[in-house]
């Protein structure tokens, strides 16, 4: 396995889930083509709905790799969604300066403002952690608590509904037979992978996570790297927030992205990235996000109440984490070697 050993356990779990479906629910694998020319089926559902967690987990992986954590992404999603929605519902004469392209201009401004605001939130987190030296969990707690208040401030406390063909497309459209969300997630994921693995950036992130002081002495702008990863995480949250609010065609400041920060962290940790920082596996986070969504989709396919899905999710997460924990593995092998007569662990 070599460089892919961290993928072993999450892939085994994913394989077992799919195997279960293959035996007990073969219809799970049916993928059909609609008259409109796009695919649908449980597997496509997984691709579609896991994309927001994939995006969040991409940013989260980088943050966790520097030894931090960003628990504000859910709130940042709400802010981004609120910003985009409040721009898109503005009367079109506001955008009259764009001439005939007022609709396109409104859409472009909505997306730009949402992403800019989300990135600003990330920069703010970076300021608190890298600039002021506050521990990350606490620093991002501030925005997590205040963020939904800010989102409500933007929407004026109401749920803004919209129906704009451009903005609707982000969360509901299809491109080359696949959901557009999947394409967004894939583009973002591949970009980040290339940026971190084909340039020195990834190495910088890992070295800061390993030992911030040492990497500073080695000439790495440690603080700058931290600012950057939080900004990237904010940007990712902005993209995910746009997707979610576009999908349901409204901006709900209270519930958009609620608990998604937890899903993003879980996906990252399942994928083998240690919470202590220093090493990161973007491919692992991808598998983790898909695994979480597979569990959920499987439950829906088996008529389970969506709220109860939390229980198996929690159990799977804890089991995968246990299997990845060195302590647990050494204790387990110790117990086995004691039982086996004269056996060597």
């Amino acid at each position: 396995m070599g460089r892919f050993h961290h993928l072993k356990w999450p892939l085994v779990a994913l394989g077992l889930l799919l195997l279960y479906n293959l035996i007990f629910k073969p219809s799970f694998f049916v993928v059909e083509m609609t008259a409109d020319g796009y695919l649908y089926g449980s597997l496509i559902d997984i691709l579609n709905h896991s994309s927001k967690v994939v995006i969040l987990a991409t940013g989260m992986t980088l943050v966790i790799a520097t030894g931090g954590v960003d628990i504000s992404v859910g709130s940042v999603m709400a802010i981004a969604g609120a910003a985009a929605a409040s721009v898109i519902v503005m009367p079109r004469d506001v955008f009259a300066f764009a001439g005939g392209g007022a609709n396109a201009m409104a859409f472009a401004l909505a997306v730009l403002l949402a992403l800019a605001l989300a990135t600003c939130c990330g920069v703010w987190n970076g300021f608190l952690t890298a600039g002021c030296g506050i521990q990350p969990m606490v620093a991002t707690l501030v925005l997590m608590v205040a963020g939904r208040g800010i989102a409500q401030l933007i929407t004026d406390g109401t749920i803004i509904t919209f129906d704009d063909p451009y903005l609707n497309f982000i969360g509901n459209g299809h491109f080359l037979t696949l959901p557009f969300t999947t394409w967004i997630a894939a583009t973002l994921f591949i970009t980040v992978v290339l940026l971190t693995r084909k340039t020195a950036l990834g190495l910088f992130v890992e070295s800061v996570g390993n030992n911030e002081k040492a990497s500073r002495y080695a000439g790495i702008e440690a603080r700058g790297v931290k600012w950057l990863v939080y900004a990237v995480s904010g940007f990712c949250a902005g993209v995910a927030g746009l997707m979610v609010s576009s999908n349901i065609k409204c901006a709900d400041a209270n519930h958009a992205g609620l608990y998604l920060e937890l899903d993003a962290i879980l996906a990252t940790v399942i994928g083998g990235t240690s919470m202590a920082g220093g090493r990161f596996y973007l491919s692992g986070s991808l598998v983790g996000a898909v695994l979480i969504q597979t569990v959920a989709t499987m439950m829906y396919a088996n008529d389970v109440n969506p709220a109860i899905v939390a229980v198996p999710k929690a159990v799977i997460v804890i089991v995968v984490c246990l299997l990845q924990s060195e302590t647990f593995r050494s204790k387990l092998s110790l117990a086995f070697s004691r039982k086996a007569k004269g056996g060597v662990a």
Partner: protein, 327 residues
């Protein structure tokens, strides 16, 4: 003349009390009757469940950990009690079972955290999902508790009259205050309580000193689970119903109350009485906004966020100063 010397460790708690008094003074200056006993008793009554939850959160944070499962355990406790009463079980047994389950749940989290060295953040995150899902398994919709003899007895008989205007200190308020006093004595005056501080300040040093770190951690999470369950009972008595959706995000309120109460989130520093004032400050902000009448409720979250930020900055500063004076 000698300058009065205030130890730097008393500054955060002093600031908490200052913020509390300031908020109260603003209220009294602007609104008639804000200073009345009734407003204060309501403040206590409306936030008793948060207070109990904050005791658990505070103990965990003192040990350097974190517990995110609080809100879900409260919801689960409420649902369990409501469902058992619905099935004809005596409410006393339902309450007892809920407490035992809560403590066991916390203990399991503690074992996972201390024995297998999993990050507390992650384990209690799993616990949060688990308990929330379980409360839906109990019943998918909210359940009321109507005309239950035990609940009626608690509501009508177990109260202390205060003053002449028929004001009373209700059972859940008394329960919170008693638990708070026990928690203060426990953290300040007992061996186990001091061990929590030692583990939170520096785990390695605590191990070298011969403090049972593992046992302390398991105990801490058991206490947290117990407190969450009791908070759930308080909440159930307060609302006389169970709702699988109740208290979403309450863990963050409990953590915010702890931070505003002057406790360092890295562990080892803080006073239990601070959580009391932290909870009251959170409650006061809501009451102030309610009295004002024309401010939107979402300002609550922004103000709470800003307050948390201020306290974090202050503590960072204090940590730096005390490090300098030690060096």
């Amino acid at each position: 003349m000698k300058k009065p010397h205030i130890p730097v460790r008393f500054v955060p708690i002093g600031a908490t009390i200052f913020v509390f008094l300031l908020a109260y003074a603003i209220g009294i200056a602007n609104f008639r009757n804000f200073g009345s006993l009734r407003v204060f008793l309501n403040l206590l009554h409306d936030n008793a469940y948060l207070g109990v939850a904050a005791i658990g959160a505070m103990v965990v944070i003192l040990s350097g950990g974190i517990d995110l499962s609080v809100g879900s355990v409260i919801a689960f406790t409420g649902m369990l009690i409501a469902k058992m009463i619905d099935c004809g079980v005596n409410a006393c047994w339902a309450i007892l079972l809920a407490i035992v389950l809560g403590a066991l749940f916390g203990m399991l989290q503690g074992v996972l955290i201390s024995t297998f060295e999993l990050p507390p953040f992650l384990v209690t995150l799993g616990g949060m999902f688990f308990a929330r899902g379980c409360s839906y398994i109990v019943n998918e919709e909210a359940m009321g508790i109507l005309n239950n003899p035990v609940f009626n007895f608690i509501e009508n008989k177990l109260e202390i009259p205060i003053g002449s205007r028929g004001l009373t200190l209700e059972f859940i308020d008394i329960l919170y205050l008693v638990l708070l006093i026990i928690a203060i004595v426990f953290t300040q005056r007992t061996h186990a309580g001091r061990c929590i501080y030692a583990v939170g300040e520096n785990e390695q040093a605590a191990t070298l000193m011969g403090i049972p770190v593992r046992r302390t951690k398991i105990m801490v999470y058991t206490i947290a689970g117990f407190c969450s369950a009791v908070a759930g009972i308080v909440f159930t008595i307060y609302l006389k119903s169970g709702n699988p959706l109740s208290c979403v995000g309450l863990e963050m309120d409990a953590i915010a109350a702890t931070v505003i109460g002057g406790t360092l989130l890295t562990g080892g520093v803080g006073y239990m009485i601070g959580s009391f004032f932290g909870v009251l400050v959170l409650g006061l902000i809501q009451v102030l906004i309610m009295f004002q009448g024309n401010i939107n409720s979402w300002w609550t979250r922004i103000i709470v966020g800003a307050l948390v930020l201020v306290f974090i900055f202050m503590q960072n500063l204090i940590t730096k100063i005390s490090k300098k004076s030690r060096a």
